[in-house]
Amino acid sequence: MLKTFSLGGIHPPENKLSARKGLKDLPLPKMVTIPVSQHIGAPAKILVKRGEEVKVGQLIAESAGFISANIYASVSGKVKKIDQVVDASGYRKESIVISVEGDEWLDTIDRSDILNKTIELSPQEIIDKVAEAGIVGLGGATFPAHVKLMVPPGKKAEVLIVNGVECEPYLTSDHQLMLERGEQVIVGVQIVLKALGIDKAIIGIENNKEDAIKHLRMITKNHPNIKICPLKVQYPQGGEKQLIKATIDKEVPSGALPIEVGAVVQNVATIFAIYEAVQKNKPLISRIVTVTGKSFSNPSNWRCRIGIPISHLIEQAGGLPEDTEKVISGGPMMGKALTNLDAPITKGTSGVLLIRSLEARRKEMQNCIRCCKCVRVCPMGLEPYLLMQLTERNYHDRLEKEDVMDCIECGSCSYTCPSYRPLLDYIRIGKKDVGQIMRSRKK
């Protein structure tokens, strides 16, 4: 019997069309747009001016606070302008636009593919390096990675859980990374273990990636401290709290962080970025993006530089199919529909999904029939139908009592609702309002 989390969950059609399609480097476009706010926390402070020449790997915006991240030039060329550009959120954000000229890298970056297994840096140096490289959680939440590595005083990390679950349908970027860069990922795991000063790691992988499980098991043969843990396919297993429950059977208390139960969770893509930063001195300037869709001619996985327009990726990968009606940045469950195809690929873009007109439209909302399917599938044990009603009526105290802040926004409730009610859309508003009230109370 395979492990999984105990509460709720759904199993949507997997549709991993781009699985086992080898990684390719995406050719550079003429122009890239790098937003300064690609992470949770304060937007980075711009360091370059218009007309300035930059090289690949050059710091162009610096972290503006504890929870913030550095941003590096992903291409070489000239800063064309600093402007407000529409990104995947649908709003204009401050961005640095660079016109690409050649592909000149800083000399300090090791561009070779040679595997470097010896970890020379001390734990503190590793954390500093991760912070300096601007690494954020690449699973999609984009929380600065170094903050997670700094265990707060009084708490003790016991186990590192590596998230190779990739529970979102369609997406295969982490899968492909584990297949092609498995060795590097394992070295990355050792780096993070050293930084945390612990000795135990578990890599959670869903059972639909058997080849990745086999591959990593083979590499970790001589590392008894790194355990590969196959998991039953279940959405949203990639959620931090769900993954902790599935792998080490511990429950993170409401409102607490994973460190409360001694766990630190990092995505495999983040681990790989940490490997590149520590061993190769390469900051976070590229990530793996899946571009896929049912009528798309070439579902595939690409190594993309940050800032490349999504339209360029689609074009290079096979062109926009005619019957596309919706383009989603991210997976089908948690991704965001784009309003502008020229929105750039950011640190948090795990995939680009092209949806056919057949499936794109939402169905009309009907009345709630009190079937409680949403309650049954909620992985956090909440009552989504109730939270939606309370939000509509602005009952903020009651919302707080019903633990609306525990919602992880996985969208299982909206997916399962037979009346097509936009439960999550409303719960997000409730979360926003209650969050504001709670924050103002603290002050």
Binding site: Q84, G90, Y91, R92, K336, T339, P422, D425
Partner: protein, 316 residues
């Protein structure tokens, strides 16, 4: 027979004992309440809308009785008349406050603002604004799902289907602030009603740079500061590529309206302009011609004369 007598007597006894207990309790636990609260509440319009910032008219009445000064307390529904009544009950004085009215600061009707994408999520402005910038190029503009109309308790708003924008019915609006709070884009503003209900305001909130704003909406304020230069009363400020008219300083001279290149400044309830001003096309070059000497040389009053004579000459 005796049973009946006993029943009556015992019931009476219970009644008397209970009455004594109730009497003692009512004396002992009597809550002394200011009788003026009831009087003030009677004078209030009993709309219970929350526009004053208190939960209901009773709470507002209690607040007025407790307050030393009525300066910060105002019932927008009743207006100055009601506040005068309240003040006379309490033996205080209030200043006449200008009546206010809700004004929509977006003119992005369908014809001015082409749609760039289709939204098919929940029909709620707050859901839509949390999801994305809007179904047109303008991320500051009205989303047109009528959350303000739903919030209005006074039947003072409706959605105009031809423009896709909400409309405020002037006679019904009591400036209770409900729509202002409901709008996630902050498009509604309470402004002074003005003499004869005349108002001038910038009907746009687009803070994008001029070119971007103009591209997304024909009637957007592009922050060109032409109105700012035209205004002689310091009523106009330009911030974040957007002009704003301070209704306390504005004297309703209407000079800023024709200079706006995108017609973003709106005038309400004014009589039609006089002849020389009526058609805009010939009026514009004249203003440009005389603009420079005016700013440099002449004091205000002479400017007016100069302008009108110039206009007349050219008309001839």
């Amino acid at each position: 027979m005796s049973l009946l007598v006993i029943t009556i007597i015992s019931l009476c006894a219970i009644g008397v004992v209970a009455a004594i207990i109730l009497y003692v309790a009512s004396k002992k636990f009597h809550v002394i309440e200011d009788p003026r609260i009831d009087k003030v509440e009677e004078a209030l319009p009993a709309a219970n809308c929350g526009g004053c910032g208190f939960p209901g008219c009773r709470a507002f009445a209690e607040a007025t009785v407790k307050a030393d000064d009525l300066g910060d307390l105002y019932c927008p529904v009743g207006g100055s008349d009601t506040m005068a009544k309240v003040a006379s009950i309490l033996g205080q004085e209030v200043e006449d406050k200008k009546r206010q009215i809700a004004v929509l600061r977006c003119n992005g009707a369908c014809e001015h603002r082409p749609k760039t994408n289709i939204y098919d999520g929940a029909t709620s402005c707050s859901v839509a604004s949390l999801t994305y910038g809007g179904d047109t190029g303008c991320e500051y503009g009205c989303l047109g799902m009528g959350e303000c109309v739903d919030a209005c308790n006074f039947n003072a708003m409706y959605m105009d289907e031809s423009t896709g924008l909400p409309v405020v019915i002037e006679d019904n609006c009591v400036a209770c602030n409900a729509c202002v709070e409901a709008c996630p884009k902050d498009l509604l503003e309470l402004r002074n009603v003005g003499p004869k209900s005349r108002r001038i305001f910038v009907s746009c909130r687009n803070e994008a740079k001029g070119a971007i704003a103009k591209k997304s909406c024909e009637v957007a304020c592009i922050g060109c500061s032409k109105c700012f230069k035209e205004c002689k009363f310091d009523a106009i400020t330009i911030a974040n590529n957007l002009a704003y008219i301070d209704d306390d300083k504005c004297v309703l001279c209407r000079k800023c309206v024709p200079v706006c290149p995108t017609n973003a400044i709106h005038e309400l309830n004014f009589p039609p302009r006089r002849e020389p001003r009526k058609d805009k096309a010939p009026a514009k070059p004249k203003i440009e011609n005389i603009e420079k000497p005016i700013v440099l040389k002449k004091p205000k009053e002479e400017v007016k004369d100069n302008q009108s004579t110039n206009d007349i000459k050219k008309e001839e």
